[in-house]
């Protein structure tokens, strides 16, 4: 009983983990989403700042995915 619920939790954690790893990739490849000038931030068009911001976000997502199932 306990073992079964433990396995289900780990299975669930596995899904969240994959989702965390996959989400930044989907955003990065979904070009029509960010292929525009507006909104401009500090003079930088959306196309450029969105992708630059996505880099640290993707790194944090990997850190979060790494935390799942450890500790």
């Amino acid at each position: 009983m306990l073992a079964a619920s433990g396995r289900r939790m780990r299975y669930h954690g596995g899904n969240v983990k994959l989702l965390l790893l996959l989400a930044p990739c989907v955003l990065a490849l979904w070009v029509p989403l960010y292929n525009s000038i507006l909104p401009v931030l500090f003079g930088i068009p959306f196309f450029y700042w969105f992708q630059l911001v996505l880099i640290p976000v993707s790194a944090l997502a990997i850190v979060a995915a790494d935390r799942i199932g450890r500790d």
Binding site: L21, C25, L29, V40, I44, S58
Partner: protein, 522 residues
């Protein structure tokens, strides 16, 4: 040849270059071990911790050529050059999942190269040879292009010269590189990478603060670049350029990012850097921290737009960054920046020659020419091979037009991704068989290469329709162009799967599922 030499910049440049050369030789004593063993010479004894690996991989993957070429594309056509950003975003989640498995199985069985792994997994020498040849073939022009990066900054220092003298500075630089790589092996680039990466970070932080200040802010830079692209497109309506992607560029942008990400860790130099790590944990740590370099790469790409706004004069777009540096900074700091870029050529060139040398020794010479080699002979052969690879790269620069090296590098990516199925699928399953993967590989190489040839020039992308002799024009109806490497690897996978159904493999698999588990996590 010294008439226009920038003496201050050159002095700073030579100082840092000299410092690093000394480091390269001293590195032989670092974590001292018997360098007559190939595992020590060619893989640093697999003892690089998380931070050394971070510097080494960062220095190895984000090369001088990248620092010159990515902003050059942005300078020439704008947004399209930014494909390097999604490319480097999607690669790390993928590496987080796959690379620790490859590290674990390699450590367990002493694999040093992709070819070693393939032979152990599939028990198929033909596939091992295919993987090894692909790696060496793709690496040679890549090393040559590092020399192009080096030559660009030396040119910007004001060196002139005719004929053989024109190449004298890079020849000297490369001889030094060859000598310390021969002596110290992978320890040399690992140690130099600390200095090189620190210098690149200083260069970029200074550039990203000072240049926008001089140009009146980011808004002014993007406005000026946007106007410049509009003017170029007005002059030549067929040109696809702009601050955002043009409709026809979206498909290539996405597929180039995916295909390049799939290809990167198939290259011998990337695997060499990763397998030299001391644990799977160190590799996972790096998938979370290497994006710092990606961020810097994104900023470097913006230098292309700054060069437009600054109005620098160039002969080719590849001069954009060196000329921008000269425009923006005093001589002494320009010398510092050029030294950073030049060292950015040496680290990857060293690791690439080591990766190619390991591959040649372990996967071509040993299995096919002399199976009973001792570790000592292996190490000596690898050292000599690393020299031969560098001489080959110099010869490419001396005797071939740069265009040719660029084309080969472009094709190198298309070829490299063709070993992806054998390596990455192999980390999870033995369902594919050796012969089937060889057939898929061969088909992928042929399809990728022929798609890239337009009759007048080599191009990386191709509309998803083409003329097949006797069959006629095939249009997949998707209405967009895609990176040839990706198109070809899809053909590769389909054929590999189909033939695996027909040709079941009975060859021995020396690995077991437990070998792939990351022991640091278990």
């Amino acid at each position: 040849m010294f008439d226009h030499l920038n003496v201050v910049a050159t002095s700073v440049f030579v100082f840092f270059f000299g410092l690093v050369s000394v480091l390269g030789f001293v590195a032989a004593r670092w974590k001292a071990a018997d360098l007559d063993h190939i595992d020590e010479w060619g893989l640093g004894g697999r003892r690089f911790g998380r931070w050394i690996t971070w510097f080494l991989l960062g220095g190895d993957l984000y090369t001088a050529y990248t620092v010159i070429a990515i902003p050059a594309v942005v300078f020439a056509i704008g947004a399209y050059g930014f494909f390097a950003v999604p490319y480097t975003i999607i690669i790390y989640p993928f590496l987080y999942l796959t690379l620790p498995r490859l590290w674990a199985v390699s450590e367990k069985h002493g694999y040093m190269t992709a070819g070693d792994f393939v032979l152990g997994r599939y028990g198929h020498k033909g596939l091992e040879l295919a993987v090894a040849l692909t790696g060496i073939l793709a690496t040679m022009p890549y090393i040559a292009l590092q020399l192009v990066g080096l030559e660009k900054v030396i040119l910007a220092l004001g060196f002139g010269g005719q004929g053989i003298m024109a190449h004298a500075p890079i020849t000297i630089a490369f001889v030094i590189l060859a000598l310390f790589t021969y002596k110290s092996g992978l320890r040399a680039p690992a140690m130099i990478a600390f200095v090189k990466d620190a210098m690149i970070y200083i260069f970029i932080i200074a550039a990203i603060v000072i240049i926008p200040y001089e140009l009146g802010g980011f808004g002014a830079i993007f406005d000026a670049a946007g106007r410049a692209f509009d003017a170029r497109v007005a002059a030549n309506p067929k040109l696809a350029a702009g601050l955002t992607l043009q409709p026809g560029q979206v498909g290539p942008y996405i597929t180039l990012a995916i295909g390049s990400a799939m290809a990167l860790f198939m290259y011998p130099h990337a695997l060499t850097g990763a397998l030299a790590a001391s644990s799977g944990r160190a590799i996972r740590f790096n998938t979370m921290t290497l994006p710092a370099y990606s961020f810097v790469l994104g900023l470097i790409a913006l230098l292309g737009l700054m060069a437009i706004a600054a109005g620098v004069k160039v002969e080719t777009p590849q001069d954009a960054v060196p000329q921008l540096v000269l425009w923006a900074f005093p001589s002494w700091f320009a010398g510092f920046c050029f030294a950073a870029i030049a060292l950015g050529a040496l680290v990857p060139a060293a690791v690439m020659s080591i990766g190619a040398a390991n591959t040649f020794t372990r996967n071509i010479w040993k299995p096919f020419i002399r199976p009973q080699m001792s570790p000592r002979e292996e190490s000596l052969l690898a050292k000599l091979a690393s020299l031969a690879v560098k001489i080959g790269a110099l010869a490419v620069i001396f005797f071939m037009p740069t265009r040719f090296a660029l084309d080969l590098q472009l094709l190198g990516g298309v070829w490299m991704v063709q070993i992806f199925p054998a390596i990455i699928f192999g980390l999870y399953t033995r369902w594919f068989s050796g012969w089937a993967l060889v057939i898929g590989w061969a088909a992928g190489m042929i399809v990728g290469t022929s798609l890239s040839w337009t009759g007048t020039a080599w191009v990386p992308v191709h509309a998803l329709k083409w003329d097949i002799p006797l069959v006629g024009n095939v249009d997949l109806g998707l209405g967009f162009a895609a990176y040839n490497g990706l198109t070809a690897v899809i053909v590769n996978v389909l054929l590999s799967a189909a033939f695996s159904l027909a040709l079941r493999s009975r060859a021995r698999d020396e690995t077991s599922p437990a070998d792939y588990q990351d022991r640091a996590l278990a």
